[in-house]
């Protein structure tokens, strides 16, 4: 299959005596959108860290366009075309919104998307000169998505993109991602069900480090077992 972008095979990771992940498989095709959900402690963030190469799996492999990315330096991974949005908004607080995006663009050899378009995409055009540290929480999250877009990734990995957002902001973020779908692949780790429902895409459900179910979200949502471990708690 030539359009496979990211392939995780039989990924397992162990921290001391704790088997955090076991036997996980994930295939992300070019321009595909998919979600990873699961209750707290299911191993979502750990799995994402493995997918971005930050954590080396104790078993299995992660390949991006055929390269084994485990253990590569962060900036090399970024230059391969993997962008990442961190769980805690990590913008550069002492730089302006515009400079934040510039720093992101400078990381790639020849960025194509103009700065003004980036600002517009993340709805921050009128705040370009504001220091990023002074933005509202939701705006910081958007700015970070903008920075991830600026490096023109093949694959965008989002770690809880809507954490701490209001319901309106959450839906606006989902719309933003749906607009971007088709430009590159997106993997979002999330536990806000409204957000995942709005995206309605291929979904992998994790539970205690293992795959519980996977499939389109509307099927997942009606699955009894998923309801029991996760949705049922709402």
């Amino acid at each position: 299959m030539s359009d496979v972008l990211l392939q995780a095979e039989n990924v397992g990771i162990r921290f001391g005596g704790l088997q955090a992940l076991e036997g996980l498989n994930l295939t992300v095709r070019d321009k595909e959108l998919c979600c990873i959900i699961g209750p707290n402690g299911a191993g979502k963030s750990t799995f994402l860290n493995v997918l971005t190469g930050t954590l080396r799996p104790t078993s299995g492999s992660v390949r991006f366009l055929g390269h084994d990315i485990a253990g590569l330096p962060l900036h090399r991974i970024a230059r391969l075309g993997i962008a990442r949005k961190f769980q805690i908004p990590s913008v550069f607080p002492s730089l302006s919104v515009e400079d934040n995006l510039k720093v992101a663009r400078w990381g790639v050899p020849s960025p194509e998307r103009p700065l003004s378009e980036l600002l517009e995409l993340v709805a921050l055009t009128d705040r370009a000169g504001t220091l990023a540290g002074e933005l509202a929480h939701g705006q910081k999250q958007w700015l970070e998505i903008g920075m991830a877009l600026a490096i023109e990734p093949r694959l965008l990995l989002l770690d809880e993109p809507t954490a701490g957002m209001t319901p309106q902001e959450t839906l606006a973020t989902a719309e933003m991602l749906l607009r971007l779908k088709g430009e590159f692949s997106i993997v979002a780790v999330e536990h806000d069900i409204r957000f995942v429902r709005a995206l309605n895409c291929e979904t992998l459900v994790l539970h205690q480090g293992r795959r519980l179910r996977s499939g389109p979200f509307h099927e997942i949502e009606t699955d009894e077992m998923v309801r029991d471990v996760y949705l049922g708690r709402r």
Binding site: T52, P73, L74, A78, R79, F86, V91, S94, V103, I151
Partner: protein
């Protein structure tokens, strides 16, 4: 051009004008005093270029000053080497840069940051001073090397001899102005912005494709090279080099100059160096034991009251009055 840049250029122009006019009012001795203070100002600017932009404090910056000084002394004192002054300066700059590159490589790529970096560089300074004392066959030990000739070189047909007060003042002032202007344009552009980003969040900057350790290393090496240049200039003007020039005391003093002048402003540290050295001379002539006490107090007050240095007084007062007006 944003207001901050305009203000900086304005202050720079005023300082440059003062430096040009100063010889009209000063005698030879006063010129040499300011000249030497300017060399230390250049040294302070070199530390500020690294500390101010990366937020990482190097507590052994005098090591590079001393290495530059010793290399300059050894080359110019050796009669067998032609063009001693030019080769000496080049040797001093590359020598300091080389040492910084080796130490910096292991520290930055090994993930050493923050206070750990400060502690390692502190040790580096102590090692350099000890080496200068112990390796007496080359460095002259405790008493150092004396009789270093003044800088002289040819530019085309013109022979430049810096043994006189005025030419040496003009030479040093020009170098300081050019280097500070160059460092400023580097640090306000793309290079400086990315450094600020790395200071804010290094992991994030790396995840955007920036090679953070390499950038920090290059900045550190450049900073050390300029410290080496300052050391080379100083030993030629003073005519001697001694282990003190790479010692802990000088490393501490340069930190105080930068802090007092305003970290991250490049120009502030130069002014801080001149200002504090003048104060030191005046107060020491009055009572030598008073100076360390006063210096300590001034440092503490600056850190608490004006953490951005003396250059920020104007901005502070302005925001204070603005606040008052709004309150009324």
């Amino acid at each position: 051009m944003i207001a901050r840049d305009r203000n900086w250029l304005l202050i720079f122009a005023v300082c440059a004008a003062l430096a040009v006019l100063y010889p009209l009012f000063a005698d030879g001795y006063q010129l040499t005093v300011i000249r030497d203070a300017l060399i230390f100002g250049l040294f302070a600017a070199s530390l500020d270029f690294f500390w101010g932009r990366t937020g990482i404090l190097c507590f052994g910056h005098a090591a590079f000053f001393g290495i530059g000084g010793y290399i300059m002394a050894l080359i110019t004192l050796n009669d067998a080497i032609p063009f001693g002054s030019v080769l000496g300066i080049m040797g001093a700059v590359t020598g300091a840069a080389f040492v910084a590159a080796i130490i910096g490589y292991f520290l930055f790529f090994g993930g050493i940051r923050g206070s750990y970096f400060t502690i390692v560089t502190l040790a580096m300074g102590v090692i350099c001073q000890q080496a200068a004392v112990s390796w007496s066959s080359v460095t002259g030990g405790d008493s150092g090397l004396i009789g270093i000739p003044p800088i002289e070189f040819d530019v085309g047909e013109i022979h430049i001899d810096l043994s006189q007060d005025l030419p040496s003042y003009v030479f040093v002032a020009t170098i300081v102005a050019v280097v500070v202007l160059a460092l400023w344009s580097i640090s306000r552009g793309r290079w400086g912005t990315v450094l600020t980003a790395i200071q804010d969040n290094e992991v994030r900057a790396a995840a955007l494709g920036h090679n953070a350790p390499l950038r920090l290393l290059v900045t550190f090496v450049l900073s050390a090279a300029i410290a080496g240049l300052a050391g080379a200039l100083y030993v030629c003007m003073a005519g001697l080099v001694a282990p003190d020039l790479s010692g802990l005391l000088l490393s501490t003093e340069v930190i105080v100059w930068v802090a007092v002048g305003g970290r991250g402003t490049l120009l502030g540290p130069v002014l801080g160096a001149i200002f504090i050295q003048r104060a030191q001379q005046m107060i020491s002539s009055f009572n030598p034991s008073l100076w360390p006490l006063l210096l300590g107090c001034v440092f503490v007050i600056i850190v608490f009251v004006l953490p951005d240095g003396i250059l920020s007084i104007y901005a502070r007062l302005k925001s204070l009055f603005k606040g008052r007006r709004r309150a009324q």
